[in-house]
Each structure stands twice: as C-alpha cells, then as structure tokens.
C-alpha cells in the first residue's frame, strides 16, 4: 500500500488519488437521499421551483408523485409553503439552486421556518464557483454565511455524492431546519458506503502523528485538501486533514484537538472567506484554543464563467493554493 493511501481514513475510497477516480456530482447523492428518506418516512415531501431535474427532485417525483409539489419559479413562496406543510406534520425538502434558496428566500427561511421552528430541509444545489460556465449570478458563495447565522439551522456541506446521500437521509430525522449545501458538477468520490456519517461529527480523513498544519475542509474541496496533503507529505511536511461536513453545529472537540496537535490551521472552502466555514472554525478556536490560521476560499469577490477547474484555480482554492497556504501559516 502506498504511504499516501495508508494515511487515509480507513473507510475512504483507496482510489481517490488516481487519475481515473470515480466522479459523481454531490447533488446526485442528494437526489438519491431524497428517495431513501421518502422510503423510510411517509411524512417526507419534496417541493420544487421549476428545477426538478437539475436540483435533483426528479427521482423522488417519479417514485412518490403524490408527495411532490411543483411551485414554479417562486422560491420565497416555496420556503413558506414548506413551513405550512411542516406545521401539518410533513417533513418538507425544498429544492432549488443555493443562490435562490437560501439566497433569495432568506427572510422567509428565517421567519417562517427557523423562527417558527419548523423542520424544513433546504437543498441548495449549484453552490460554489464550480457551477462553471453559468457565471457569477448562479454561483452561491455566501450561502454558508447566511444559513449558519440563523438560530436552529443545521448546516451541512457534504464532500461527495455518498456523503450527500447519507446527510440527506440524516437531515430528515433531526426535527429541525437543515441546510444541505450541494455542488453541481461531477467531483471525486472520496468516501465509501462504510464511511460513517453523523451530523455534527467531523472526520479525520488524512492522519498524522505529528502534523505541522491541520487542514479543515468541506465540500468537494476535501478532495483538493487530500491532494495537497499528499504533495505536502512528499515534500516532508506532515499535515492532518479533517472533513468538517457539518459546519453548524461545529464539532468543537475535533477542531480543538486538531489545533492542539498541529498548532496551525488552514481552512478550505468553496465560499467567501468572510462568514463561511473558516470563520466558524476561527470563532471556535479564538474562544477555545487560539492558533495561527489561514483561510482558503473566495476573497471578497464574485464568480464568473469558466470551467470548474479554471475557476477553482483562479480563485485560489486548488491544490497548489492549499499547499502555499500551509507553508504561509507554518512561517508565522
């Protein structure tokens, strides 16, 4: 077994460093998860705003046509209608693009879902600049900030399609509002069926006994963080990588344990640096165990058209950017 694979969490996909690693869109896992959740609980219903196929409600619609509602292009209405359905005992999932839900309908989510304490689940697809050619209007890079700030909201940013499926199934059972942050395009499958998933539990995906830097990543960039870890290791720099799939509630124990061990932290997310997952980690560490940090993310800019890879590189979130951030934080 190559050393890089030996460092991986025991249940992860051992082919994740290969060129031909299996690629599946995170949103696809969400669509599968909706069906699983619907099978295990008849209260689960799905609402859609004219994006049935793209936002991955189609498999559920086919399986449970009587528990599917098409609302047209009306995300504000969708959030509040879901609140009303939850008031009557349903577990509604609202599905759209993250830019519009929870983007456009934020106040409806705050008031009619969270303030009202209704267990509505928000599936926001097309999060991040990796949406690609559609351009900046459709690339939600503020959604973690605006959801994690609302009381009662659980915020989950799965790292791959399998984790997205598990997170969707788990979201149906919380009795609370949940935001599921999903990406559009195909990305590497990192986890396996055996990888444990629990809301609120971070996971070490690359181990080290004596790390110089701790990398905390979420979403598809967990794969980039692992690629960076491999490069760093090849250059003699020990790191440990944590997948922080649940941004809220944050797994303080895991974050503090990593900071104690590594004394340096780099956060990696496909989101604005201001207010995102890195900010959540910084809040946690500033209070509990302050260490030097560096933030890999979008630096107060909007997205644009391009291929996903071009955009990840352009906005400084690729493997090399993560490697550089690790070196920078080590120099402090």
């Amino acid at each position: 077994m190559p050393d890089s694979v030996a460092r991986l969490g025991p249940t992860l996909n051992t082919k994740l460093f290969d060129e031909d690693v299996e690629q599946v869109a995170i949103r696809t896992g969400f669509g599968e998860g909706l069906v699983c959740a619907g099978e295990s609980d008849p209260r689960v219903v799905v609402l859609c705003g004219d994006l049935t196929e793209s936002a991955q409600a189609l498999p559920f619609k086919k399986k449970f046509p009587d528990r599917f509602v098409e609302l047209g292009v009306a995300e504000q209405n969708m959030a509040s209608v879901a609140s009303g359905m939850a008031a009557m005992g349903k577990i509604p999932f609202i599905t759209s693009y993250a830019m519009f839900s929870p983007g456009r309908n934020w106040e409806q989510i705050r008031t009619t879902i969270c303030y009202n304490n209704r267990p509505v689940k928000i599936g926001g697809s097309h999060a991040g600049v990796s949406v690609g050619p559609d351009g900046g209007t459709h690339q939600a890079i503020e959604d973690i900030a605006i959801t994690r700030v609302v009381p009662r909201m659980i915020v989950i940013c799965p790292c791959d399609s399998i984790e997205a499926r598990k997170a969707t199934v788990a979201a149906a059972t919380t009795g609370t509002p949940v935001y599921l942050r999903l990406a559009r395009n195909k990305t590497a499958v990192i986890t396996t069926e055996d990888t444990p998933f629990e809301i609120g539990r971070a996971q070490v995906v690359w181990k080290s006994d004596a790390p110089k830097v701790g990398l905390v990543a979420c979403g598809a960039l967990v794969h980039k963080a692992l690629l960076a870890a491999k490069t760093l290791q090849e250059n003699g720099v020990e790191v440990e990588v944590v997948n922080l799939a649940t941004v809220k509630p944050i797994d303080s124990d895991a974050i503090v344990a990593l900071a104690r061990k590594a004394k340096r932290i780099v956060t990696i997310e496909e989101h604005q640096i201001y207010g995102g997952m890195g900010s959540a980690v910084a809040e946690c560490l500033a209070k509990n165990y302050p260490v030097p940090m560096h933030f890999v993310g979008v630096d107060d800019r909007f997205g644009q058209s391009g291929t996903p890879e071009e955009l990840i590189e352009h906005y400084g979130m690729g493997r090399d950017a993560i490697v550089n951030a690790a070196h920078e934080v080590m120099a402090r």
Binding site: V45, N77, V81, G84, P92, T111, T112
Partner: protein
Amino acid sequence: MLLTPHEKLSLEKTANEIRESIIEMLVEAGSGHTAGPLGMADVFTVLYFHTLRQDPKNPGWDGRDRLVLSNGHICPVLYATMAYAGYFPREELNTLRKFGSRLQGHPHREFLPALETSSGPLGEGLSQAVGMAIADKMDGQDGNRRIYCLMSDGELDEGQSWEAAMLGGKQALHNLVALIDRNNIQIDGFTEQVMPLEPLADKWRAWNWHVLEIDGHNVEAIASAFDEAKSVYERPTMIIAHTIPGKGVPEFERDFHWHGKPPDAEQARMALSELRTLGRKIESEAE
C-alpha cells in the same frame, strides 16, 4: 337566516368589548397598532365565536381549524379575541409587548403555543396557509378541517402574496379560505396612492379563486361568507372584507396616521367612552 337575533347581538356586543380591550392593551403597552385591530374586531369575533372548529381548553387538538394571521401587527385583536374565547385569562392582555409576556409585539408561537404561526414580516401568511391546505389535501384531511388566513391589503404589495395566490389556484385548495382586511390604508398613506391594488377582486378571480366582497363590520355578512366558502369545491375562497380602520372610535376612523401608533391616556379615555356609548346603543337597538 344564519344567525338568530340573539346570536347577532351577542357577536356585536363581544366585538365591541374586544375593541375596548384593544384600547386598554395599547395604552398600557405604550406602542403598537390601533387602526387595524379595531377594524378587524368584527371578523375576529365571528371567527372565534361562530365559525372556527376549536377547543380553547385544548388548543393543540388535531382536528381544529387552522387560523393563520399573516399581518401579525394587528395581533392585539387576535390576543383579545383569544382571551375572550377562553384561550388564556383576560388579565394577561395588559402584558402586551412587555418583557417575558406571551403576548409578543408580533405573534410568536414559541411564547404562545396556541398560535398557529409566528408572523409580522408581511406577505408570508398566505404561503403558509397554502402549505397547510396542500398537506391536508395530500392526507385526505381536507374534508375534516379548514385553513383560514387573515391578511391585510397593504401586504399585497409583497410579491410573495401573488406567488401564493397562483399556487392556491393551481392546487384548487377548496379547504382554504383567505380574507383581506380591505381598509385602504397602510403606513405611508392610502393604498391606492402608495401602490394601487384595484381592481382587487379581479386579480384574485384571475388566479382562479372564488371571490366574495362583504361589509367587514356586518357580522351576518361575515358569517355567511365563511359559510358560503364551505360550499365551494373547486377553488380556494378569497373574502374581501371592506372595513373602516379604527372602527368604533370616530376620531381614529379612516385616518392612516393611526396605523402604527397607540392612543395616549387621554385619547384612550375618549375612545373607551365612545365605545361604551356604542355598546349601549347596540343593546338598545336590539330591544
């Protein structure tokens, strides 16, 4: 006749007493909205004392009709009517807007669980009521209980109102009855100057709603409108209730300045005196 003379008198007297309580609450609170609550006292009274299937001693009863108040700022009339209906002691009304009170400045169901929704931000109630009605249709409960939504005219400026209107029509929600408090005022002035809504009834008909227009101070008209809605099987019902903001206190009536302020002590004394005179008139006319 839907109401006996005794029932009609009783509703009118109760509505007038609720108006008195609204004045007392507002002057005690020192802030809040006056015109809307006074204008809607008759509609609330008919709902809570004639129309709604409810059990005030068991507010969580699953078979109850659901009432969603969309324009949460008129909650003094909601709270007062609920107290008169027996949901909580009337003495509690003087805690309105105070720290620790169950009667929050805008309704919050976490503080007062008998409320169906928390509300205040405008244009969101009808969507929630539509969601409730859709869920009940899915579950075959649409014949067993009804969803009511009370709205203001001013909040129709919110685009979300019309998103909900379209969906309600599309889903043919016969178990949904909404009522607009058509009092023609909003904070900045008269609705037709701030943002014209007419032809209002036509707009709802265009979205395939069954539309009724009534005098919102005639308890018989209100009761029969809610009754007629029960016989509409293909579409949701919208009742446009023409009301007088500040109804019952001539100095407050039709003046949009009373939308968002409470009476001071002297104004409250005057208002209560006028409402008591009105109460005696209601009784004497019935004799």
